[in-house]
Amino acid sequence: MGGKCPHRSVKKRRYSHKTARRTKFLVKGDDMVYNELAKPEVERPSLPVDEDLPGMGQYYCLHCDRYFANVSVRDEHFKTKRHRKRVKQMLGPAPHTQLDAELAAGMGMPDNGPKLMAM
């Protein structure tokens, strides 16, 4: 996502990667996206109209957590390598979590005891 940096004297390194770095932690984490995708279509939240977002927040890519200006731009995005890579990643095993880390450290599964109330 590096934009062009026109004032660069070294012609080889023309792209600024500052924007990519800035937005790195604004996107959703992998595990959040994975959980969202695991839900059935009905349970996912509908897209509210938000005038601050591109395209009033109506054209959204769940995999990449991005908003687009209109349908054609979004469909164009679906064809990109970045998106397809992301889809493939999300089809794979679940992302690493704290529970995985604890299991790897030699802890057992959490013991919550017997259920006190019938669900």
Binding site: H96, M107, G108, D111
Partner: protein, 167 residues
């Protein structure tokens, strides 16, 4: 005092060590040192980084199934304090820790078994296949000092062959 586990490398985090990151959905990520924190910021997957416990477990480097893993776990239930139980637990921790370490070292020793023979086999195969890089095959034919000595096998003609020869 609670010893947490590092999100990235699964090592214990002692009080006053490491750093923690709380994401805007209230998920807590704890890191034992800046190395792990940096790796997290680089969005690396701990399952693909060789020095983490997650990698070692996944690739069969460490023991995965053992009864000693059943002791340390989250118990989300209230428990009444009992001094005797605590005392016994503290004694048991040392013993269990020793058992686990022994089993772990045995596992690794078993894993390393046959490594030497495997390396020898591979080296021999490479020597057989790419000796031509050292010396041309035509030269080798004249001076076979570089080739591996061929084992001589005595050929004993079977009964039917002997019969045929007599005929």
């Amino acid at each position: 005092m609670r010893l947490e586990k590092c999100w990235f490398c699964s090592s214990p985090i002692y009080p006053g060590h490491g750093i923690q990151f709380v994401r805007n959905d209230a998920t807590i990520f704890r890191f034992c040192r800046s190395k792990c924190h940096k790796n997290f910021k680089m969005k690396r997957n701990p399952r693909k980084v060789k020095w983490t416990k997650a990698y070692r477990r996944l690739h069969g480097k460490d023991m995965t199934k053992d009864s000693t893993f059943e002791f340390e776990r989250w118990r989300h239930r209230p428990h009444k304090y009992d001094r005797n139980v605590t005392e016994d637990t503290l004694k048991a921790i040392k013993k269990i820790d020793k058992i686990r370490m022994d089993r772990e070292s045995r596992h690794i020793a078993r894993r390393h078994q046959g490594k030497k023979a495997k390396e020898f086999r591979e080296a021999k195969k490479e020597l057989d296949q790419s000796i031509s890089l050292v010396k041309a095959p035509s030269v080798l034919k004249e001076d076979p000092s570089l080739t591996l000595p061929k084992l001589k096998v005595k050929v004993v003609p079977s009964q039917s062959e002997q019969d045929r020869m007599e005929e």
